[in-house]
């Protein structure tokens, strides 16, 4: 919860000594509230005030970062309950769980590690691996994983089995799973010794908050919460309550990201459903048991969609796109780079089975009418796109098709693009297949 300049002012010496470089304590407080100066610039602030200010300026949901050799996963630091209120910032880490005793461990890790899938010009991968000490030798397993992947790790085991695994990945910041009411002291010691993030598990939020406070008192700062929950209703309730307590009440004891294991349900169909709920509703780490390309693709896309900044819609890279293997005789259709506009047009053309070139103009991510009204989709920009993407080299007939909504631009475009024929297409994408069949 942000603290105001006036609240900060009350914690300062109020002597206007000017040694911080500002004329008054109030001016300094205002700068502090705006995060433009450091509190250390004040030589006289009391230890008590320092502590209070540090606490109130910490983010309500702690930022947790797992690191391996050059790779990192960051989660937490969220500020809203609903994405439209601002945005969700740090996408949940998607991890795949493997067992130390599994003879195929290295192969499974290599396969999941190599997985990459492209979605509207972005390449997605999974984020890391959870290695479970299920009786197998954890150190050997970690070495095998490290032979196949550089991604961050979650180590699952107890205070007896974990140290060997932690030694095998020294220099990294892994997570260890999990402290509960029976073992929290030993787990907290391990987290401290190895600078690991500690997952904490409890049967209720009361128990969890009690545990995190005790663990924090031992000096562990980086924690994540396993909320348990015996069904989707209970998990959703707890996840929402934890987020609310952190954001609305600044309740520190539960101000940590949440980890969940949809694979615990032991049914791949339900695992997918649980994961979809977890990604939509505030999970920080989602650990799978089932790794298949078709599931990974669906969930990576869901994560991207939910974590897209509503103020900055997904844009498609401007350029010339091929649909249904176009030839030099296929038509060139012009549209904007707003993702939904692009998808509507691309889908209709694709569904029609007719080949076409799609000239996606940089309209700063706006739809046709909005961009036109804002001056981001005018004759000049369209002409620029046609030239920049060298549309003339792709097609025999110098002809482009404009969206019907901007028919008004055709005269101007004829001037900008001398020698080109400007055709006016339908207003709506859904009418494109018929238009292409009949008019082109």
């Amino acid at each position: 919860m942000a603290i105001s300049g006036i609240q900060i002012y009350k914690l300062l010496p109020q002597t206007n000594c000017k040694e911080c470089g500002f004329p008054t304590c109030l001016a300094f407080a205002m700068k502090l509230a705006a995060k433009q100066v450091e509190l250390s610039a004040c030589p006289y602030v009391s230890e008590e005030s320092k502590k209070q200010l540090a606490e109130s300026s910490a983010p309500p949901i702690r930022l947790i970062s797992l690191k391996a050799n050059g790779t990192e996963v960051k989660v937490g630091n969220e500020v809203v309950m609903f994405r439209h209120e601002k945005t969700f910032y740090n996408k949940p880490g998607l991890f795949v769980r493997v067992k130390a005793s599994d003879a195929d461990l290295a192969k499974k890790v290599a396969e999941a590690d190599a997985y990459t899938v492209n979605y509207v010009g972005m390449d997605f991968t999974i984020d890391g691996f959870a290695v479970e000490a299920d009786g197998g030798d954890l150190a050997t397993a970690i070495k095998a994983v490290r032979g196949a992947s550089k991604r961050p790790l979650i180590l699952i085991g107890d205070a007896a089995t974990l140290p060997a695994g932690l030694d095998a990945c020294s220099g990294e910041i892994p997570m260890i799973y999990a402290a509960d009411s029976s073992n929290w002291e030993a787990m907290a010691d391990l987290a401290l010794k190895y600078k690991a993030t500690l997952a904490v598990k409890g049967e209720s939020l009361d128990e969890l908050a009690d545990l995190t406070q005790k663990i924090q008192a031992k000096g562990v700062e980086d924690m994540v919460l396993d909320l348990g929950g015996k069904n989707m209703a209970e998990w959703l309730t707890r996840s929402t309550q934890v987020r609310r307590l952190a954001l609305k009440k600044n309740f520190r004891a539960l101000g940590y990201p949440v980890i969940t294991f949809p694979g615990n349900v032991d049914d791949p169909a339900k695992e997918a459903v649980y994961a979809a709920q977890a990604i939509s509703k505030y999970a920080g780490f989602v650990v799978f048991d089932t790794f298949t390309p078709e599931l990974a693709y669906a969930l990576l896309v869901l994560r991207e969609n939910i974590y897209t900044d509503p103020q900055k819609p997904i844009q498609v890279q401007p350029g010339i796109y091929e649909i249904n293997n176009p030839t030099a005789d296929s038509p060139a259709l012009v549209t904007t780079n707003f993702s939904i506009t692009y998808f509507s047009v691309a889908n209709e053309v694709e569904g029609s089975g007719q080949p076409a070139w799609l000239v996606v103009t940089d309209a700063e991510g706006m739809s046709v009418l909005t961009a036109w009204a804002a001056g981001k989709f005018d004759a000049e920009r369209i002409a620029k796109a046609v030239k920049e993407f060298d549309v003339a080299s792709k097609i025999n007939k110098k002809q482009i098709v404009l969206p019907g909504h901007v028919a008004v631009l055709s005269g101007e475009l004829e001037e900008e693009l001398a020698g080109w024929e400007i055709r006016v297409g339908p207003r709506e994408a859904v009418d494109l297949p018929a238009f292409m069949k009949q008019a082109l």
């Binding site: 609903f82 009361d206 959703l236 169909a269 979809a276 709920q277 693709y297 939904i340």
Partner: protein, 315 residues
Amino acid sequence: MPIEIPKDKWPGSVRKVTIGATAAEGGTRTKSVTVGGQTTMPYMQFEAPTPNTPVVAIEIKSRKPEDWSPLLADVWGDAMNDPAEWAKKAEEAGADIIVLALMLEDSIDDAVNAVKSVLGATGLPLIIWGPGQAEKDNELLVPVAEATKGEKVVLGICEDKNYRTIVATAMANGHLVEARTPMDVNLAKQLNILITDMGLPAERIVMDPTTGALGYGIEYGYSVMERLRLAALQGDAMTQLPMMVTPGFEAWKAKESKVGEGVPEAWGDWATRGIHWETVTAIALVESGADIIVLRHPESVKRVKEAIAELMVLA
């Protein structure tokens, strides 16, 4: 020390809307379906119980669609040639409501016969869509509404360009309407105002805020639904209607579900992917407040219904 959980207290609530009429209610349905009535954001049952379970509808067509994914054609088989058979199979697959989509090729007689045969084949309530072209919708939906007087079917799809005829015939024949707007809170409100201004009570409107499929704009539908539900709970009367969405239609239009060849290897197994695409789209929309979820594949229906049942469990 027990934690004090912050609870939201809202002044408003979602209206209850009942679809279908039993014999006692003047129709022939074996049961009616009531949705809405919420006083909290979706499934926040620690604040108040969710009074009515959100339902799953299965979309069928008056004749076999040529453009559906082969995966759907495989699973429904020959039943797709006969709407009555298809409706029976949909009921067996767990549908709470049947959505019957009429098609452009249908004559008035075809349409009325298809609707009557579906009413005869299943006791479930019905949502009936026109083929999606204003003139044809009106031409088919009026006689269909008259032929089903008293059944309390939902007639769709009302959009800002074409709602008057559909609303008028719904009023005359005791039916409901589906009000669809393109992913925008204010447009949704406005259409509800236009429809209620004609005299149709709000209890006979289901709003369809539209969604995109996973990967195709679902985030817009998702957030518009959350905003509509928040507005309803804050007391904005013209948003206090149950929400119906069509993830089946959207997801099976996407290349990911529709086709199995010529796609990247990283997309994985086609049959499993198609169901994931529909299910994941639907689950996200369930979380954002959908009351009626229209699906196409029986396996997705099973998964989404199980998820809703789990979400309805009281702690």
